[in-house]
Symmetry: C2
Subunit: 206 residues, 2 copies
């Protein structure tokens, strides 16, 4: 598998290109140049072309890329990445918000279950996703072979919940809690810290 030689940042951008190609397809656009596609993705054209060469050649010189062909190539590269069942742990403010957020389902991710210390307290009226007590989490992960978890518990609980998830066999965590998780290196963690994103932006304000 050539999977491992694609740089992390490139993989991230491939997801971007993929989504742009979907929109182009919906608009019945058949061909796109690296210039146009790169601009839509907010990168330089050379970067886009370099990104694509990691797994082949798809363009026609003098013309550009066939939207559908490139789209299906990217589907192929990212295929394992889509339609993964996901669990969410921590149905507080942010967690229950994400349960109601339809952006995941739209893009092929299904949150199959949520867990919380107080499942009955979850503000979950508008969602069909079941919220279970957290002591059922490990069992659920094991029985259903869940590999992906979204972590939205308070900072104080995050590490111990993460330990439990790892123990149960989780391979990747999308971490919204305000601490950096210590996990074995085979477990992948992406951190999203909204306060830091704002602080970072503010730093660059004049």
């Amino acid at each position: 598998m050539t999977k491992l030689v694609i740089p992390r940042k490139t993989v991230y951008r491939l997801s971007l290109y993929f989504r742009i190609l979907e929109r182009l397809h919906q608009n019945r656009i058949e061909t796109v140049s690296s210039d146009a596609l790169a601009k839509a993705a907010g990168v330089k054209p050379t970067q886009l072309r370099k990104d694509l060469t990691y797994f082949g050649q798809f363009g026609t010189r003098g013309l550009g890329y066939n939207v559908d062909a490139l789209h299906s190539q990217l589907t192929n590269v990212l295929r394992t990445a889509r339609f993964q069942p996901v669990i969410l742990v921590g149905a507080g403010n942010l967690g229950s918000a994400l349960l109601r957020y339809d952006g995941f389902a739209k893009e092929g991710f299904e949150i199959v279950a949520a867990f919380d210390v107080h499942p009955e307290g979850a503000k979950n009226a508008h969602s069909k996703i079941p919220v279970y007590p957290i002591d059922r989490m490990s069992g659920f992960v094991r029985e259903n072979g869940i590999k992906l978890a979204i972590l939205t518990v308070p900072a104080a609980a995050a590490q111990s919940v993460a330990n439990e998830l790892v123990e149960a066999g989780i391979q990747a965590i999308l971490n919204f809690s305000a601490i950096i998780l210590q996990v074995p290196e085979q477990v992948v963690v992406n951190n999203v810290n909204l306060a830091i994103e704002l602080e970072n932006l503010s730093y660059f304000i004049t």
Copy 2:
């Protein structure tokens, strides 16, 4: 101002260190080594030390860093970055969730107002933040000198709303919408795309 010579990634990590130092301070820990602090931040000790040298020397050799002293130095570096008033545009699912999310306020950011095409439809029962119709947005930004906006509108509306924000004088945007915004280069944009984060994680699952 030495501000501009600090690399973007370093600024981001400074926010991390800052939060860890706050926790250490709360726990009455007075001194911390670069090893311990780096581990908590998920980086290598040398990286932490290098990050700090961008704006001075704060450690005591053989001992480590004084928690409070380093904390106040970071406050100084990040000071403009905190306590900025923020507006939120797009009070749909994700937007109204963020209005209820207390993580921003806890970290010094106040969302002073929200805007939506259908303000009355905003699921805003539990929040005290006012939701105004979107045609009041520009005026509000101008009158209050708002520099920071959180954008949670649907992809189809995002670019035109962003244009309006830029026109009104916004300097930085935290963009949750699924497209990459085209903005003048003096405007800073940080993108958060939750579906791509999940897809990216999934890619690295075996």
